[in-house]
């Protein structure tokens, strides 16, 4: 038990899970945009993108639990179980830990609604799911402020790369949303495309339904 309760181990576990969760959340967001844009990844059917998005999200949620538990159990800093759910009241770095708590709360709601997706109105699920875009900056702010590793060195480079990836993905999602045609205008276009494709002998490209 020594190795588990020893401050050093929990401290390393907490830092490591924090870093991996940030990377996995980035991956989840990028994959989520690919799901929304109906992109098939090389070598995978299109539902493979959905599976990866779901898997990355769930693994990051599990690691997030480890991250929170290790922070609370670690006696070196004063973070209680209440701080894990209620933001801005922690005994250690209340401001920066608070951002993390907010992110944890949001993540819990996003994961729960996704697990119950089949039983929820689609609109409710979608509204909650869109808060993921707020979740990521909260987590990043928490990592930069409360964390001890992200501010410098090669990890800073990694954080910048993550931020660029999320920014590009968000831009793609927004642009796609703006470009999406009203449903009733899509079918005539699809028919024209299918005619052109058959006339030229090439396979017709998939027409998006969003």
């Amino acid at each position: 038990m020594d190795v588990l309760t020893d401050g050093g181990f929990l401290w390393y576990l907490n830092r490591a899970t924090g870093l991996v969760v940030l990377a996995l959340m980035t991956l989840t967001i990028v994959l989520g945009v690919l799901v929304h844009r109906q992109v098939a990844l090389p070598g995978l059917p299109r539902w493979g993108t959905v599976g990866l998005h779901r898997g990355a999200g769930l693994v990051s949620a599990v690691l997030l639990v480890v991250h929170v538990v290790s922070a609370v159990v670690d006696g070196y800093v004063r973070i209680s179980w209440l701080d894990a759910v209620l933001p801005f009241v922690a005994g250690y770095e209340p401001f920066w830990v608070g951002w993390g708590t907010l992110a944890v709360d949001l993540a819990a709601v996003v994961v729960l609604t996704s697990l119950l997706r089949g039983r929820l109105p689609l609109r409710a699920w979608r509204a909650v799911h869109l808060t993921s875009y707020a979740l990521w900056p909260l987590a990043l702010a928490h990592g930069l402020g409360a964390g001890t590793d992200l501010g410098s060195g090669w990890l800073l480079g990694g954080v910048v790369a993550c931020a660029v990836a999320v920014a590009i993905a968000s831009g793609v999602a927004l642009a796609g949303r703006r470009r999406a045609r009203p449903p009733l205008e899509r079918a005539p276009d699809a028919l024209a495309q299918a005619r052109a494709a058959l006339a030229s002998g090439r396979p017709a490209a998939a027409v998006r339904n969003r």
Partner: protein, 395 residues
């Protein structure tokens, strides 16, 4: 369009006024249990769902939800080949309004809506004003899917007329989220006749298309369900009959003549009465060309929401357009059309893909000889004048 003068029938004598309606049918009697009275009456919008089950389902759902139900009369006849609902609304609006009143009482509805195309509305406004009935009239767009149950509910709620899927059926959550009874207008008119003791379940309205000297002749008639198709429709030199409309199927004329119009009578030929369209394709036309025009129209009318429909129907339509032209076709094109048609079945929020490819596969079956002729570079048709009506732009 002409209709036989059946004074006690659904189409009346041609005078749509309340006075003529009362003179012909008398007052609307009180009905203790409409579901019992409906008996084995089936819906006449296309799906043929038992009316009694729908009535009981909505009444129960409304009781369970503790909210009054909504009743919607569906006069949305998006099908270009069908005219029976418009003719019925034109000639006997008060039978439909009677049916709405009966249905509203039976399911405990406090809101009554009648949805119809633009051309039907002036007459309906007059009829509603004549009786002072609290019926809300809703104008539907001319799209093929405007009368699809869930698209209709969306339109009544003021949104775009898009099918929304059947995960939660409209009899549980429809207009304003309340249990909603949607009945085709002919079904409602039949309920009004049943309430007066008429034998309303044994006949049906059909829209007939037969060749005439100056193009196709279209009329609407009330015919017994047990009648043979050959007696209902002048087959003449027809090569095939389109049964059910644009979501229906082709049946070779020889096989069609002896069929009766009941569900069991049409089933052996792989057909159903659907929207009540019967069209006798004359021998001098190309069945593939006619079907291709219809299918291209259907593909363009997809609501664009479900991937299989949005991607499958245009491919099948474009493939059929090539097959409808004589000349060498790309190798494997026929197999591709079959494959695309098979891929969309059961994968839409509504039955549009299923119905559209039903027409495609029946055409490929019934006009197999013509397919072979086209592959050999010739078409057996001697006239290319359009027979089936397709809105401008699709042909």
């Amino acid at each position: 369009m002409t209709a036989p003068p059946l004074a006690r029938g659904l189409l009346g004598a041609g005078d749509p006024s309340l006075a003529a309606h009362r003179a012909a049918h008398g007052p609307l009697p009180a009905v203790p249990d409409l579901a019992v009275l409906a008996g084995d009456l089936t819906g006449r919008g296309g799906a043929g769902f038992p009316v009694a089950r729908k009535l009981r389902g909505v009444a129960e759902a409304a009781r369970a939800a503790g909210t009054p139900a909504v009743v919607v009369g569906n006069g949305g006849e998006g099908e270009p080949a069908a005219a029976k609902d418009a003719v019925l609304l034109d000639r006997s609006p008060h039978l439909v309004l009677d049916g709405l009143a009966l249905a509203a009482r039976a399911v405990g509805a406090d809101t009554v809506v009648l949805a119809a195309g633009r051309r039907s509305l002036p007459g309906l406004q007059r009829a509603v004003a004549e009786r002072g009935a609290p019926v809300r009239l809703v104008e539907l767009t001319d799209r093929f899917l405007a009368g699809e149950e869930t698209a209709l509910v969306a339109a009544v709620d003021g949104g775009p007329p898009l099918p929304r899927g059947r995960a939660v059926p409209v009899w549980r959550r429809g207009v304003q989220g309340r249990p909603t009874l949607v009945h085709n207008v002919e079904t409602l008119a039949r309920l009004a006749l049943l309430a007066r003791g008429g034998p309303a379940t044994t006949s049906t309205l059909v829209t007939r298309h037969v060749p005439g000297r100056h193009g196709p002749v279209v009329d609407v008639a009330e015919v017994p369900l047990t009648a043979r198709l050959g007696d209902v429709l002048a087959l003449g030199d027809a090569q095939a009959v389109l049964v059910g409309g644009y979501h229906g199927s082709w049946v070779p004329a020889r096989a069609a003549a002896g069929l009766t119009l009941t569900r069991d009578g049409l089933a052996p030929a792989g057909a159903a009465l659907g929207a009540g369209v019967l069209a006798a394709l004359p021998a001098d036309r190309c069945g593939l060309r006619e079907t291709s025009a219809v299918v291209s129209y259907l593909a363009a009318e997809s609501a664009g929401q479900c991937g299989p429909c949005l991607n499958g129907l245009p491919r099948a339509a474009a493939g059929l357009e090539l097959l409808a032209r004589p000349g060498p076709h790309p190798p494997g094109l026929l197999a591709d059309v079959h494959r695309w048609a098979g891929l969309v079945v059961g994968r839409g929020a509504c039955a549009h893909p299923d119905g559209s490819v039903r027409l495609v596969t029946s055409a490929l079956r019934v006009f197999a000889d013509e397919l072979a002729a086209h592959a050999a570079g010739r078409c057996t048709a001697t006239s290319h004048a359009p027979f089936l009506p397709v809105p401008a732009g699709a042909r």
